[in-house]
Symmetry: C2
Subunit: 135 residues, 2 copies
DNA sequence: TATAAAATTGTAATAAATACAAAATAACAA
DNA sequence: TTGTTATTTTGTATTTATTACAATTTTATA
């Protein structure tokens, strides 16, 4: 389905700003933060405002079209919403996708709390930073 | 073991500020943020500085004495370091401990990345907010 | 007690996020 | 079309969170 239709299905007007933000996250799997998205989109849409980026990301996340990844440093975003985990490198702070499948039935309650979703974050030294340290 | 000795064992001088920050986190299982800890400790130690809270929390976390819990809203802290998970309520933003045991061998690598630790965050509507919504 | 190292404090600077009113855009009825 | 209304975007101002850093204070120990 096209980005435009996905937005409409969630009750969001498919404005050029929303489409571009969403498409950026679908095409780039780097888990960007607000600043990164803003800088890139400003090339294409010079009038775009950072407030719009914030607003759009919140709307997309509220509707489950994207995932918010809170880190110690900043809030990052992911357009890939299939169940997966993340790894963050404590050297370079880069975030990697991890295809670890944790079994969990979202319909169950835990301690009386309704579970809507869950996320797993691994932390350590990434493949690349290990190489750098050796040399 | 006493807080003082735990700090010394990790190579940290057991200053009154560090002891109090650490003890606060061990005694209160509410997952406070910097602001909360600062406000409470300022009662006891009126000269304490927020920078010291930041510094101390970073040192404690680096040495594994406490856990950092990044959320969408702010960075929270936990003095309880036994393996456990967290649940955050999307209504009241309160963080609860969850005794879910996810099996994972930390010594293994994933995709070539060295895993030092991992955390699981559940999200949804907490027990208390469910009651409020019914009435 | 003197000296050096470590830690704390307070202020300033930076960065991240939010609030909000004005302007622009889009939907749609006449 | 055109006019009206609702929605969205933009830009600026605030607020909040975090970091940088020099001066002061504290601590260890020679």
């Amino acid at each position: 389905m096209k980005t435009k239709e996905l937005l409409e299905k969630k009750g969001l007007r498919p404005t050029i700003q929303r489409i571009k933000v969403y498409e950026y996250l679908l095409k780039h799997r780097e888990h960007p933060d607000v600043e990164k998205i803003y800088k890139v989109l400003k090339e294409e849409i010079p009038t775009i405002s950072k407030t719009t980026i914030y607003n759009t990301l919140k709307e997309l996340a509220d509707r489950g079209l994207i995932i918010e990844i809170p880190t110690e440093y900043k809030l990052c975003f992911d357009g890939y919403t299939e169940p997966h985990s993340h790894f963050i490198c404590e050297e370079c702070n880069k975030i990697y996708d991890i295809d670890a499948d944790f079994e969990f039935d979202k319909k169950q309650k835990i301690n009386g709390h309704i579970i809507k979703n869950f996320c797993v974050m691994f932390k350590g030294i990434c493949f690349n930073c290990q190489r750098k340290e050796k040399s």
